[in-house]
């Protein structure tokens, strides 16, 4: 899964991003009467003022977490396709726990909420890993199916039994003030969670490359047979990467609630699961490269959104963007011999 051929690697990433940019540029004349102005907004939008810039960084932070989730999954040779539901589940768990303890102090509440999010994501994804370990159930399909059923269930809960009827949105009530992460850049949403996220990048790197469990996880992901002969208990590395990946996705949901949304709104996490996959692949499954990859991806998405905010396509655009990046990011444009099972 680790590429050892930098030329081809960077070429495919370059082509993926270039293709995305070209597509966006090509769409502009259709959606705008002043295409040049729109294009300029697209390229400079995220940097035009404190509000946009802060929100851009904030989104990057959430994408870093989602990207790390997929990095761990890919490094362990597993395919967690349930990110959407795990982020959403983590967000709802955090919201519900914090709504139950409105009088808790800030720190115990935040820790409890975070734990709830992590736990929910880890269990959802870990189940797929467990079934793979026990009965060889394809984790790619099972994680997707479980996640989809959870997404629709939460959509229902948020629009029905858990809905705050005081709000216009399909949303749960908001969490108490003391549980909200301090804002770093007024008036944007950029918050202290971003700093914790950067710390987690370092931790993920330390775990994967400087601990024996991380080593075993990576070796098992690279070659299960080899790892087995090396005496690594490979069976448990069906479960561990999946659970860890789900934990990171769940944490993404938690941080979204405590730093950005303050309530589970229907569809609030749309796309983060898919974005995590795109970002982990742009980063070539290296934790160090996740922040720059997230910066690039969020820039493409955020730029597109600010530029076409007044058109009819804003949400579909994000989806097309993910598609274009995913389509080219693992392609090999230089003809080289490739090993089997390599990403």
């Amino acid at each position: 899964m680790h590429s050892t051929r930098p030329a081809s690697t960077f070429l495919s990433i370059g082509v993926a991003i270039l293709a995305a940019l070209l597509l966006l540029a090509a769409m502009v004349p259709f959606i705008s009467e002043t295409p040049l102005n729109t294009l300029r907004q697209f390229l400079t939008g995220p940097f035009s003022n404190r509000f946009y810039f802060g929100n851009y960084l904030n989104r990057t932070g959430l994408y870093i977490l989602a990207g790390l989730a997929m990095v761990i999954s890919f490094q362990g040779g597993m395919f967690n396709l349930g990110g959407e539901g795990q982020v959403y589940g983590g967000a709802l768990a955090t919201t519900l726990v914090l709504l139950m303890v409105p009088r808790f102090g800030a720190l115990p509440g935040i820790l409890l909420g975070t734990a709830a999010g992590i736990f929910t994501g880890a269990v959802m994804s870990g189940l797929s890993g467990f079934f793979k370990m026990k009965w060889n159930t394809d984790e790619l399909i099972s994680s997707f199916l479980l996640s989809s059923s959870i997404v629709y269930t939460i959509d229902y809960l948020v629009s029905g039994p858990l809905r705050d009827t005081q709000r216009f949105l399909l949303s749960t009530p908001e969490i108490a003030e003391q549980f909200r992460f301090p804002v770093l850049l007024n008036p944007s949403h950029l918050n202290a969670g971003f700093l914790v996220t950067l710390l987690l990048v370092v931790l993920a790197q330390r775990f994967l490359y400087h601990t024996s469990a991380g080593y075993e996880l990576r070796i098992t992901g690279l070659n299960r047979e080899f790892a087995k002969y090396g005496g690594i208990p490979v069976r448990r590395y069906y479960l561990i990467p999946m659970a860890l990946s789900g934990a990171f996705y769940g944490l993404t949901g938690s941080f979204y609630i405590m730093g950005t949304g303050y309530a589970t709104i229907q569809g609030c996490t749309f796309g983060m699961g898919w974005n995590g996959i795109a970002i982990a692949l742009i980063a070539r499954t290296s934790p160090w490269l996740v922040p720059p990859a997230a910066l690039v991806f969020a820039f493409l998405e955020y730029g597109a959104e600010t530029a076409i905010m007044h058109s009819d396509f804003s949400s579909e655009f994000g989806t097309i963007l993910q598609a274009v990046v995913l389509f080219f990011v693992t392609a090999r444009f230089v003809k080289l011999r490739t090993k089997k099972g390599e990403l």
Binding site: T153, E316, G318, V324, R332
Partner: protein, 295 residues
Amino acid sequence: MLSAIAGIMTPFLIAALGGLFTERAGVLNIALEGQMLIGAFTAAAVAGTTGSILGGLTAAVFASGLTAYIFAALSLRLKANIFITALAVNLFAMGGTQIASQLFFRTKGVVRFAEFPGLAKVSLPLLSQLPLVGDLFSGQSIFVYIGWLLVPCAAWLLFRTPFGLHVRAAGYNETALYARGVSSRSIREKAITISGIACGLSGAVLAFNLGAFVPNITSGRGWIALVAIFLGYKRPGGILLVSFLFAGAELIAQGAQGAGNVPSSLLLAFPFFITFVGMIIFSIVSGALGRTQRR
């Protein structure tokens, strides 16, 4: 009851039969969902504007088949990870149909057409008189019968022709295929294109049944079809049986909604959940029987 199940199972059945070729060729095709969605949109758009079922069908098969071919050719020739490119197809279908819907019909919601051509109801002589199973053969749309006809067709193509042998060899023993001078890449490209054509047909059936295009009309049916391939032991007959069971489950879910106990938004979760449970049970059972799955 049986009659309704026959109607519901047709899209699953056709998509799964197409996906069977990719599965046998050694490619887990998770793009079935997206291929179906593209087929459904094209079918609704063309049939709704031209008033021709045949036109809509042809366009759907063409659009979905072409998507599948491009998807196959680019992933296999550029050696991209096929799961990732398949995800791209699914996401592209989701966003693309919405954008096209907005561009052509000025709505991202349900697209209705003034005069959508209806489907003729056909009853088969003799068979519809049978006791118990007669319902399956009376008053069904023509596509139900086409779906059933495709079961023996797929079995014949897969098990009785050189092409089918090559497809199975591509999944089972690539080296043998290579030794015979057959390119497994070209076989896989063909298999994926077949799955695209089948999904186009399957999506068209969905759209024709509704007489409209609804956003996310497939709502997971491509994934269910994919799981049906596993659960049917990768055989056309098995797929027929599993499609029947899934359709029965969906009918029960619709009944629950009709009885007013279950809100419709929650019902969207049901097919995914039941498929998940079915898949887990299947792997436990097949594990106990000592069979091994792919990968």
